[in-house]
Structures are given as C-alpha cells and as structure tokens.
C-alpha cells in the first residue's frame, strides 16, 4: 500500500494547517465554551461559518457505488487529512458531525437535504445511540450522545426497523429547531452532546440497509479517529517543545532518560495510530474487504494515542500542565470525550475480537 500524498493532498493538508493555526486560536474556543464571554459564542459561530462550511463536501460519498472517490472526487483520506488538522486546534462547531456523520447518512438514503449539507448551506448530525450509549440501532424514544444537536439545522434519527426488516433501520430527518433536547455535560465542552426525543409526529421515514448504515458509521468513526490523532499530535508537539526548554537541576528536563523513554513509547503509539487511520480511510475508499477490521484498529489506536498523550503530556509538563490557563486540558478533554464517542478503545477491541475469532 502506498501512503504517498498526492500534490493536491499535500496542498490540502498545508492549507488546513494554516487555516486552523490562523483562524482558530484557543482564545476563540475559550471565549465560546470555557470562559464564555458575551460575544464569544457568536464569534465562534461566525468564524465557523466563514471558514469551515466550504469543506463539508470533503469525502462526500456521493451517490451510487464507490461514490465520489471512485468518480475522481474527494476521498475519505482527504477528509481525514482535514480533520487531523482540525483536531490539533479543537474546533467548536458541527464540522465532524455535518461532514463525516450526517452527510454520508443523507447520501445513503438519497435525502434531498444532502446537497445542501455538501454545499455548506445546512449543518446536521445523527441521533442513533440509546441509553447505553452504543451506536447500535434501537427503538428507544430518546436518542443519547447526539453530538452538536443544538447547533445544527438537521438531526437525522436512526431507529431499528421492525421485526423482519433484515437488521435494517429507518431514518427520519427532522428540523433541529423543533426538537426537545437536554444537554448532557461531558469533559469536552467544545462538542456538546444531547439527549434528543425522537419526533412523534410520524414524519416520513426512509429505510437504510444494515450494510449501508455500517458504511456510514465506519466513515464517521475513521474521521473521528483522524481528529483524535490530530489532538494527540498537538499534545506531542507541545510536550516535546516544553521538555526541551524547561530547565531543572541545571539541564533541560527532556534530557532525562526516564522522561525520554516515556515519550518515545507514547510517540510510537501516536505514529502507529496515524498510520492506522489513513490505512482504514484507504480501505473504505477502495471498499476493501479489510475495511471493518481496519476501522476498529484505527479507532482503538487513535483513542489510545490521544489519551496517552493527554496523560503523559500533562505529566511531562508538570504543574503548568494542570492549570486552567494552559491549553493542554482543552485537548485532554477532547481526547477522552472523542475516545468514548462511537465506541471507545475497549469496545472496538471487542468488535475486533469478534472478527478474528
């Protein structure tokens, strides 16, 4: 397999890196979600609208077999390159939920709003998990862990179809403004999750086959894993820079072997997680038979890498890393919340076991 980036992909990555560095400073996130100022939330929304809506079509699976990737359009690899960069910055707003979760679902059911989401005119998310938090179709009247539900235009509800439907599900797309929801606070205030009641008015539903739903969730999972390795990368870079500068006992603390070995082991986890994410994205783009296994490997590795760097990075920073003022905890929060979303490391390991046994 060939991990070489095309010229276009290198340009995409560089553009994204510049965009998130320049337009998404941590003050934007803090003012909107952590030390909320009067103008903060509106400003974060304005920056989101100005800079991110144009990118929702990245990785758009399009319609028909093979989707846009087969037609020479953008691929899931492209979306992952973009989300890895957004993960370094921690974006407040429905970027992942619109581009990686809602759009593939709307495409899968051929919903008329799909084009508007792809064009950035609408934002959206998906409501699927029941009270146990697992993203497995169910018939519960309230869906849990619905990301960004209060800040999107559309919520696509996925519920298990009745008996005899062959494991399929049905999808109801609702206007978010008229839904009843309750925010459930998590460690990560930059991606709020909600409990949302399934609308009771019997809106038109569309069927979705089990394998089509699996495809949607696998895309979203790999994209979230890309965001996680981005968060891990920020933590790694910040930590390595800090231990190279911080002097104790007359020498940089990064010269101590005990610290070096801890960081080498963490760097290895991050390196292999990053590779696993792009391998999984390639598998999905090619609809390779290894894709299911690759998705579990990618999410488990990426969740582990982000959590590892959050913890070891904080430890290596010492006291300063434990402060509210330091930006480290913004990524620590994202790392833990995103690891637990769409299946945590343990859950993906167990699914992997089901595949290899």
């Amino acid at each position: 397999m060939d991990f070489t980036l095309s010229d276009e992909q290198e340009m995409l990555r560089d553009t994204a890196r510049a965009l998130f560095t320049k337009e998404f400073p941590s003050t934007l996130l803090r003012d909107a979600a952590y030390d909320v100022t009067d103008a903060g939330p509106a400003e974060a929304r304005a920056v989101f609208d100005a800079h991110l809506r144009d990118w929702f079509a990245l990785g758009d699976p399009g319609v028909g077999a093979g989707g846009a990737a087969a037609a020479g359009g953008s691929s899931l690899v492209d979306l992952c390159l973009f989300l890895e960069e957004s993960g370094t910055a921690v974006v407040d707003g429905p970027l992942w939920s619109s581009a990686a979760l809602c759009l593939p679902l709307l495409r899968a059911i051929g919903h008329p709003d799909a084009d508007a989401v792809a064009a950035g005119e609408l934002t959206g998310t998906v409501a699927l998990a029941g009270a146990d938090g697992h993203w497995v179709p169910n018939t519960e009247p309230t869906k849990c862990f619905v990301p960004d539900a209060a800040s999107v235009d559309r919520v696509a509800f996925v519920s298990a179809a009745g008996a005899g439907a062959g494991g399929g599900a049905e999808v109801v797309v609702a206007d978010a403004a008229r839904l009843t929801m309750r925010e459930v606070a998590t460690l990560d205030r930059s991606r709020a999750v909600f409990e949302v009641a399934v609308p009771a008015d019997g809106a038109d539903s569309s069927p979705i086959a089990a394998d089509a739903l699996t495809d949607v969730l696998e895309r979203a999972t790999v994209a979230l894993a890309a965001e996680l390795v981005g968060a891990a990368r920020w933590l790694r870079e910040a930590t390595l820079a800090y231990v190279g500068e911080r002097v104790q006992f007359g020498r940089p603390v990064g010269s101590f072997q005990g610290l070096q070995w801890m960081l080498v082991d963490a760097a290895l986890v991050h390196e292999r997680a990053t590779a696993a994410v792009y391998y999984a994205a390639m598998c999905i783009d090619a609809d390779d038979p290894d894709r299911h296994s690759a998705v579990h490997v990618a999410k488990a590795a990426a969740g582990s890498a982000a959590r590892r760097w959050a913890k070891d990075g904080l430890q290596a920073h010492g006291g300063i890393g434990y402060t509210w003022e330091h930006d480290l905890h913004l990524r620590l929060r994202r790392a833990y919340a995103a690891d637990h979303l769409l299946g945590d490391t343990d859950w993906h390991h167990d699914r992997l076991a089901d595949l290899i046994f």
Binding site: V297, L352, I356
Partner: protein, 389 residues
C-alpha cells in the same frame, strides 16, 4: 494514497511467486518462527536454497545479477520482502554474510575484497562478524581487540563474543582497535581475517535454548596481512554505520509478517484450548492484533518517505516495536496453555513446544542489533529531537 501497487509491480510479484513455487524446498516453506539447529551448523537445504536464490537473481533483488540480484527498484525490493516475509520464507540462516559483510565489502573494500562479496552473498563462504566484546556491547566503540602494525602485517590480540556462526565460518569481518590514543570512535579499523589462521581459538557459546550458534573467539598474536585492511586505517566506525541502505526500507516487513502469523495461530490455539470465549483472552488478542496491524501500516507509511529519498522516522520505531511485540505474542502462547505454559516436552506442550521455544529465542531480539534501551535513546534524540542526556 492507495491500497495497491500498479500492474508492473504485480508482474514482478508474479515472477517471484512462480520462482518460489518452482524452487523453494519444503523446509523453507514452513513459516517457522525460527530457523537454526541445536548444534549451530547450517543445514544443507539452507545452503542450497541460498545459492538457488542467488543464481536466479532473488537473493538481494536490488543488486545486479552478478551479485545475486536483478537491479530491482526500492518498491520491487519491498514487494520481494512482503512476499518472502508473508510466507515466512528465510533467505539464509546466517544473516551476517549477505546482509553485513557483502554490502560492506562492496562499499568500502578494494578490488580484491570486492571480489569476495558474491561468495559471501551466495553463502559459499560462511562469514562471522567480529563486533561485540566482553566490554563492548551497547558501547561498541569501547572495543579493545588490538591490531598492531608489524611490517607488512597486523598482529591481532583480543576477544570477541556473541559471534554468530564463528565455529563454521571461513572468514571473520573483524572490528579492531588500531589507535589507542585517538578518541574511541576514531581508532577503529576493519580486517578480513581467515578463521584458520594460527592463534585463533573458537569456543562455542550456548544460549538459553541450549543451542550453540554463538561463540567466543580468541585472538592470540594472530598475524594478518596488511592488505586485509578494509577501507582506510582508523576509519572503521563508518563501516558499522553503513550497510544495506536499500534493504532498510523493508527490514520491518518480516517483523510484522511473523507477528501476524503468530496472531492467527494464537486465535487457533485459543480455540483448541477452549479459551476462545474468555473475554480477557479475546480482548488481549484484539489488542495484540491492533498493534500488529497498525505497525504494518506504519511500516508502509515509512516506506513512502523512504522511497522518495527522504529519511523515514517511522522506521526507527519498527525494530523496537516488532521485537517487543513478538516477545509478548509468544509469551501469550505459553499463557494460553495454562498449567502447560512452561512445558517444553514436545508431546505435551501445544504445537510441539513452538511457543516456549520461540519465546526464548525472541528474548534475544530486544538485545541483538541494538538493545531496546539504546533504540529508545536513539529515537528520543534523533527522531523526537530531545536534548542529549
């Protein structure tokens, strides 16, 4: 990014597979975790197989035909390693001759020494590599075997240890100290020493499995003609650093391939031992699988930068990671056997004692070729850019 290589690469792979099907002996096709014998001698089939690989241009594909290759590109070399590693086919029992000595002679030797390379690569001449000494392990530059100029010769005195296949070797590629005044790294040279020279004594050294591939080699006033010096006097340290650059891009392939084979077999073993429903066993194996698969992806990611001519930090991790992973895999194979975990009786332990034996051998993998501790130091400073301690 794409999953598959192109049609030219597929054709190359096809040629290799055809060769394997036609020529590989059954002993080479077993997909074993180790090769080698209790006495440390090299089996006949392995000698013949290495010569066959050479004669058909499949020993070191990147080399020209006269050196056992076919002028393969870096990508073709990777495909070669994929296919051989994936099937667990060994090229040679003695790594030193084709992988260290041959390439070093070609890069640093004079014409007469270069002429020794084909036989080293074909395995016609068994070589040992005299590097480690009792006081020069990880600190290799501390070596103290002396070579003192005396007319047209050097007189060599000292001791080497952990010298693989010394008891069977015709020649030694030997690192010696030729300047005791200079800084450690600057007083080292390399000599080609015939093993039948008077004054050389080889004592087999058994390792923990009981087999004797290693040896101690003692040099007592061994007279070596001055013309056996490889490269320049006191410039030997460079030779330790450079060899086989074209193979380095794929050295990880065998590590991940054998890890993957072990995982597949561990699943099978867990099923046979009634442990397949145990949630702890399942999760542990899934974790190991995650590690092996992600390391495989990392190896390919590193290859992409390697093939474009840039350095590949990814590969600095691979030896460290695969050697430690394999230890854990084989140990897991022992644990799956419960009370039989430490049984080596081939009639009572699973798979004829495979896991116990492979585990013992794997303990050497985190020591030889640079200990895991040295690897971590190297990654910390050269890859992560941390300050030296």
């Amino acid at each position: 990014m794409k999953l598959t290589w192109g049609p030219q690469e597929d054709a190359f792979r096809g040629e290799l597979v055809e060769f394997i099907n036609d020529y590989a002996p059954p002993e080479a096709l077993g997909g074993k975790d180790w090769i080698g014998t209790a006495t440390g001698d090299i089996p006949r089939w392995a000698r013949d197989w290495q010569a066959t690989l050479f004669d058909h241009g499949w020993m070191i594909p990147a080399y020209p035909p006269e050196l056992g290759g076919r002028n393969a590109t870096p990508l073709q070399s990777l495909i070669y390693q994929e296919e051989m590693g994936g099937r667990g086919i060994p090229r040679s029992v003695h790594f030193g001759g084709y992988a260290i000595v041959g390439p070093s002679l070609l890069e640093f030797g004079n014409d007469e020494q270069k002429a020794l390379a084909p036989a080293a690569i074909r395995g016609d001449t068994i070589w040992c590599v005299g590097m480690s000494e009792p006081d020069a392990g990880s600190d290799l530059a501390n070596l103290s075997t002396r070579a003192v100029p005396d007319g047209d010769s050097f007189v060599v005195t000292g001791q080497k240890v952990w010298t693989s296949y010394a008891a069977h070797a015709a020649k030694c590629f030997c690192y010696v100290r030729t300047d005791t005044e200079a800084a450690k790294h600057k007083g080292i040279s390399v000599l080609v020493i015939d093993m039948d020279t008077p004054g050389i004594e080889v004592r087999p050294l058994r390792h923990i499995t009981g087999s004797a591939e290693f040896a101690e080699v003692f040099f007592n006033d061994v007279v070596v003609p001055a013309g056996r010096l490889v490269g320049e006097l006191n410039n030997g340290w460079r030779i330790t650093m450079g060899s086989l650059a074209h193979e380095r891009g794929g050295l990880w392939v065998d590590g991940v391939a054998s890890a993957q084979r072990a995982i597949d077999d561990l699943v099978d073993l867990a099923q046979r031992r009634g442990r397949a429903a145990d949630p702890v066993v399942r999760r542990q194996l899934a974790e190991l699988h995650e590690e092996a698969r992600s390391l495989r992806a990392l190896g390919y990611k590193g290859f992409a930068s390697f093939a474009q001519g840039s350095s590949s930090p990814e590969h600095s991790f691979m030896k460290l990671a695969t050697s430690e992973l394999r230890q854990r895999l084989y140990e897991f194979g022992m644990d799956l056997q419960g009370p039989y975990g430490a049984v080596v009786d081939p009639d009572r332990s699973a798979d004829g004692g495979r896991w116990q034996h492979a585990w013992q051998i794997s303990l050497a993998a985190t020591i030889g070729g640079g200990t895991s501790e040295i690897q971590r130091n190297v990654v910390a400073t050269r890859v992560l850019g941390l300050p030296r301690g």
